[in-house]
Amino acid sequence: MRYLPLTDSDRSAMLDVIGAPDIDALFLDVPEEARISGPIEGLPMHASEMAVEKHMRRLSKKNLAAADAAFFLGAGAYKHHIPASVDHIIQRGEFLTAYTPYQPEIAQGTLQMLFEFQTQVARLYGCAVANASMYDGSTACWEAVAMASRIARGKKRKVVLSGALHPHYAEVVRTMAKFTDDEIAGAPPSLTAKPDDEGLIARIDEDTSCVVVQYPDILGRLPDIAKIAEAAHERGALLIAVNTEPVALGAVKSPGELGADIVVGEGQSIGVGLQFGGPYLGLFAVRDEKHVRMMPGRLCGETVDAEGKRGFVLTLSTREQHIRREKATSNICTNSGLCALAFNVHMTLLGEKGLRRLAMENHRLACLAADRLAKVPGVKVLNDAFFNEFTLLLDGDARAIVRKLTKQNILAGVSLGRLFPGNDGLTNGLLVAVTETTTEEDVETLAAALEEVLA
């Protein structure tokens, strides 16, 4: 086996040192009736690199890669171009094969990177402090709800979800709340050109610990965070803003700037890639430093070493479960270190200038696409405003149309029918995302295909 360095003669020599007659003598504590002897049944014997690579390539080729299609999917995961140097850097053995930086003297590479990452996320979100990443946007969203509960010390048990929150995020919150006895108030979104901010505000009451609103929302619209924040704060509730497309924040005001108390989101757009849904990168930030000790997840902080040199350490870990056990602020242990690095590197390559241009390029192409698609008979653009994703209303069941277009290598978007199963009022909705990777030909291809299928 190419991954196992011991030779048979090593093994005998080592058994001699140990004083054991054979390997099985080391497994004496495993009850004999349960111990397996001989190779594992049913599994093939070890395989060469070539054999494994061929097998996996065969499976890979059974998927339609985004680059091989006219591609318009979004809904919380976006296809962006990732510079080649990002992957080069995350494959450096010193980053790839390092552990959690518990020994800071020999982990400054990871720690400084995390400190830079935290700063980038905090600034992007318009917040004071960000943590060192979480699993993904949906779990970060739940952690934010749980944090708001902690801050409310159990005195407020109601969580108000915007209807236009990503349905998977809402589902995660609902699932977890089942076990913590929080009450979740939510409803499917209504197909209006602007988000129903007034309706959301109307649901906030004195028992509300937090309000969760997505920006841009699941239909691509832009809710008025400032207004909702004001209303929430009036009733003593925290506003949690959720963002699933960080590139948007290169073009629009940050949620923190607009008054959100906790800002969470998915960081996948920057550096991480599609990867069929994971690993992704949960971003988590608080607008006000006073909430820091209530935050979940790891935090990296600046300090000095014995000689007074600047250095970085994991800090405030008394909040973490491996120390606090049942009093921890979250269940998270592993975070998304390597994805945070990818985000950090890609964001460094972009810089403010690059991020703004990237955002404007996304928006420009999305506007062109919306205008073009609106010209197709049977197609209506729902949104008044949007960033790089908008909702089409089709004369027909969007889900069936998406399936049909797949056969022409067009991945036309995400149907609202798939996102909100069982909501008959939404079945004609199709969520279309456009990024810098979308060409005008792609848009033409989609328009022509829609024209044909809707005729």
């Binding site: 991954y3 080391l26 339609l64 589902e171 902080g301 690059g354 390029e361």
Partner: protein
């Protein structure tokens, strides 16, 4: 060499990316590309950014150099032995990195129509098959994003199963030697946590456990092999007792590396166990993640696993089952309602880790995986016995250890601690072992060499460890200020916690 922060060397006006054409470059020698279509007026609804964000950029040459230099301040498995007990720092095969980057895995959207992602679903299902097979269980929940998330998933399954039979139990029992995540998880799921003591030989006290079992106990969370590096010999008896009392058995699978191919937790009565793909199945730790924590489930718990999941039907097709069709699918194929407890995350889990773990399993195969456990245990025992008479091994008399060797600070000169020894080990060129864990041993040092270390590498490590141990016993004061040769001397963690500086602030603006 010191590397400044990005914020100290970058500029708001610098960027390492170009945006010039919408992906078109038509050459045939001489044609100029068309200028991009003019931008329509913005439709951002009045939310346009007006203020600077504060994100400096670097050109590509500066970026590559910044991170290359930063990386060199890290220790990593690629540089040397990484004896962190309970963390299983084994070699990460490079083939798996290559496979994870195949376009059919890396460049696929989670919400593509299922007909365009059949291969991805097959990967998930094939990995699920082997995880079930290797553990002797009945089902598996693939979506948990890491070990702790998997623990939570397992406990939620238990809670859902109990609720389904209308049995509201309130207590989870956790032995002293459990991972710190276990009580945190149980508390998060709304349970009261009670400790169970360990015997002097380092195992769960079966009688104490039995004595505590009762109608209020939802289950026990047990780590096997346990954190003292020992196999819980009475595992089957524990399971039987818990089951008899109406509870469930959760097993922390972080240490599965020691027993894969040697014994199947399912045969010992386990109801749920998470598997850290980044430990036993060697997906890279990456400086703290991403992880992946599938949870294998017994027949009793399988119906309660979370959505989404994959299932291969008789016709060979792998299905993706989500909220929409969970009910109908269960009815049609499993002959009953599926009582899933909900969704733990958006999308389907850590695909990028699944491809790597599956490649790992296929590469090792029936003989290799078994060898993994055997060599891991052999290496740990070799370290344990090679330090006889040098470091105190409190459970050494209990017999062979599993894949990690546990030592205490007994015999250290006054004032010198496990921490000092660990930091001195850095100067010898090694990452320290796990310290002060498990709590049942004073000044604990938990060494896990893993199976991917050669005998020569172990011998070198043993020499280094012996040397620092002897210096600790002789009272060498220089240990107290170690490390001396690392990129940093000891860092002031108290200061960091007392006055948290968690983001960079421009000193010129302060």
């Amino acid at each position: 060499l010191e590397e400044p922060l990005l914020f100290e060397i970058g500029h708001i006006e610098t960027t390492g990316v170009d945006f010039d054409f919408a992906g078109k470059l038509d050459l045939a020698g001489v044609e100029q590309p068309q200028p991009p279509s003019p931008a329509p007026s913005s439709r951002l609804g009045g939310f346009e950014r007006t203020e600077p964000i504060g994100l400096p950029g670097l050109s590509e040459p500066e970026t590559v150099r910044h991170y290359t230099r930063l990386s060199r301040q890290n220790y990593a498995i690629d540089l040397g032995l990484f004896p962190l007990g309970s963390c299983t720092m084994k070699h990460n095969p490079r083939l798996n990195e290559k496979i994870a980057r195949m376009p059919g895995f890396a460049d696929v959207h989670p919400l593509q129509p299922v007909d365009t992602v059949r291969g991805a679903l097959e990967v998930i299902n094939e990995l699920a098959f082997w995880l079930i097979h290797l553990t002797g269980m009945h089902g598996v929940a693939m979506s948990p994003k890491a070990g702790a998330h998997g623990e939570l998933c397992g406990i939620l399954c238990i809670r859902a199963a109990l609720e389904a039979r209308g049995d509201a139990r309130e207590v989870i029992l956790v032995p002293e030697s459990a991972h710190g995540t276990n009580p945190a998880t149980a508390a998060f799921a709304g349970y009261k946590v009670e400790d169970i003591p360990a015997t002097p030989e380092g195992r769960v006290d079966l009688e104490a456990l039995k004595a505590r079992l009762g109608p209020d106990v939802a289950g026990v969370m047990i780590t096997n092999p346990n954190t003292c590096g020992l196999f819980e010999r009475d595992m089957k008896a524990i399971s039987d007792a818990v089951h008899e009392a109406g509870g469930f058995v959760y097993c922390d699978g972080a240490n599965f590396n020691a027993i894969v191919g040697k014994v199947r937790p399912g045969d010992l009565g386990v109801d749920a166990m998470h598997i850290n793909l980044h430990k036993t199945f060697s997906t890279p730790h990456g400086g703290g993640g991403p992880g992946s924590g599938p949870v294998v489930l017994s027949e009793a718990l399988s119906p309660f696993g979370p959505l989404p999941y994959t299932a291969r039907t008789g016709d060979g097709v792998v299905h993706l089952v989500e909220e929409e069709d969970a009910e109908s699918f269960a009815k049609e194929h499993f002959g009953g309602p599926l009582q899933h407890f909900g969704r733990m995350t958006a999308f389907h889990g850590q695909m990028g880790m699944f491809t790597r773990a599956l490649s790992y399993i296929l590469s090792h195969g029936a003989d290799g995986l078994k060898q993994v456990a055997e060599d891991a245990v052999l290496n740990a025992n070799y370290v344990l016995r090679s330090l006889d008479g040098v470091l105190d091994a409190p459970f050494g008399p209990s017999g062979p250890c599993m894949h990690e060797a546990l030592f205490s600070d007994k015999g250290f000169a006054d004032g010198l601690s496990t921490l000092d020894l660990a930091k001195a080990l850095i100067d010898e060129g090694y990452h320290p072992m796990t310290m002060y864990f498990p709590l049942v041993v004073h000044g604990a040092m938990l060494v896990e060499p893993t199976e991917t270390e050669s005998k020569a590498a172990l011998d070198q490590f043993i020499v280094a460890l012996r040397s620092v141990a002897e210096r600790a016993k002789a009272g060498d004061e220089s240990l107290r200020t170690a490390p001396h040769y690392a990129p940093r001397r000891r860092l002031d963690e108290t200061l960091a916690a007392r006055r948290p500086m968690l983001a960079w602030n421009d000193p010129d603006l302060a």
